[in-house]
């Protein structure tokens, strides 16, 4: 059954998601696995959206208590926010929900501002920097009791970190199938017992053509950029959802998109965001597992993943 795939594509997280599974397990068919994954993502969208007032995230963000009981997955997400901040020195800051709302991101973006137009209007390019206050440091998570402790008023933004986390959680749930691929609105988790190598195509943010194709069996992948969720703010300035923590304003660093490979989708998401925010000079250093960087001028740079010698190649050498 390795070559027989069951798949589904659907709208979720203000974007599109897809699930591909091949091979049945003792307890679950591939079709059931696809159904399970799809319903999980739809459920998590309802719970983690900032734009749904009764979502768990919205309730957490407006809860007046300092310590708030949450679901295990929400606690995991809050912990991911802390880890992302710590790993990137505060550059990837998941506690900027207020700032992104002020920037104008208050609902799903159905018609984004054209990328080339946004780049023409954008301010001078400069690398982003961590916020001096770094409010993410004020978050504490108790994973035993499932509580999030933070000063009331500090709000979390689910953003790409949650999607990476969801892709990983589903990846672990589907790990016993022969092969699977979860595309959680751009964050991918690939794996499966059969170690089937699968092509991963990286799209250009300018025209949608394929810039590069990786072929891997097990990996996390995340693509982050400023083209998909962009708009003109009230002052006619271009804006997007990747903020410079130091200024609280959208970051224009000279990079429009980064695709990162990593052992997990969450880690890939953190690498991708950090690479964009660092700017062209340091971006490649933020992609230790490989990736693709797309610059403002439309050129791109491919960072190859570390080589893995296969047994077949060893036989050839012998």
């Amino acid at each position: 059954m390795n070559g027989h795939e069951t798949n589904a594509s659907f709208d979720c997280f203000g974007s599109s998601c897809s699930i591909v599974v091949s091979g049945d397990t003792d307890t679950r068919s591939a079709a059931d696995a696809v159904s399970f994954a799809q319903r999980s993502l739809l459920d998590w969208h309802e719970r983690f959206s900032r734009f749904i007032s009764e979502s768990e995230l919205s309730r957490l963000n407006r809860d007046p208590r300092r310590e708030v009981p949450v679901s295990p997955l929400m606690a995991g997400f809050a912990q991911a926010v802390i880890e992302a901040g710590a790993m990137t020195g505060g550059l990837v800051d998941g506690a900027l929900a207020k700032e992104i709302r002020i920037a104008g991101y208050t609902d799903d973006i159905h018609q984004p501002l054209a990328l080339r137009r946004a780049l023409q209007l954008a301010p001078a390019r400069q690398p982003a920097a961590a916020a001096p206050g770094a409010r993410w440091r004020e978050i504490e998570v108790d994973l035993m009791r499932n509580t999030v402790t933070r000063p009331p008023g500090l709000e979390l933004d689910s953003g790409g970190l949650a999607k990476g986390l969801f892709a990983d959680v589903l990846g672990e749930a589907l790990a016993d199938h022969a092969a699977f691929a979860i595309n959680c609105a751009g964050d991918l988790s690939l794996g499966g017992r059969a170690r089937t190598r699968r092509q991963i195509k990286v799209e250009s943010p300018f025209d949608g053509r394929t810039l590069h194709t990786f072929e891997l069996a097990r990996t996390g992948v995340a693509t982050s950029g400023i083209g998909r969720r962009s708009w003109l703010d009230r002052n006619g300035r271009p804006a997007h959802h990747l903020l410079d923590p130091a200024t609280g304003r959208p970051a224009y660093t000279g990079i429009v998109q980064v695709t990162a490979l990593a052992p997990s989708a969450l880690l890939a998401e953190i690498h991708a965001k950090a690479a964009i925010l660092h700017g062209p000079r340091l971006a490649s250093a933020r992609l230790p597992h490989g990736g693709v960087i797309v610059f403002d001028d439309g050129t791109h740079q491919v960072i190859a993943p570390p080589p893995v010698i296969t047994l077949g190649e060893l036989r050839c050498v012998a």
Partner: protein
Amino acid sequence: MPENRTPPAPHSDPQQLDPTALARSRREGMLLRTRKIRRSVAGLALGLFTAAFLAVYVQLASGHDPALTANAERRNVSTSLVASTSSKAAAEKKLAAEKAAVEKTTAEEAAGTEATSTETGEASTESSGTSAVTTSQS
């Protein structure tokens, strides 16, 4: 007739009586032994190194580099991002429970139905071969 007594016959191996020759002989023996020991140690070390090298090389060459592809490692990395070190096991249990709960709900809801994706208007499909996936900005 002591005068007629012949002198004692000389030793059959005169070198044994020569202290210098005896020392040289012993020295050469020690040198030979030293060389033999050195060769044995070098051979053993080389053998051990080759065995260890081949073990690691085959492991990596077969695509089972634990740092890159092993599932256990992958789970560890994933977990380290969502759980503190002190409560990693507990976090895993909690997340597993969460997944199980969602799965149970899903199974209950999906039982006996074909509503794989009725909410989204696009049903799951089946195909042959390994499909490619595309990553773009979310």
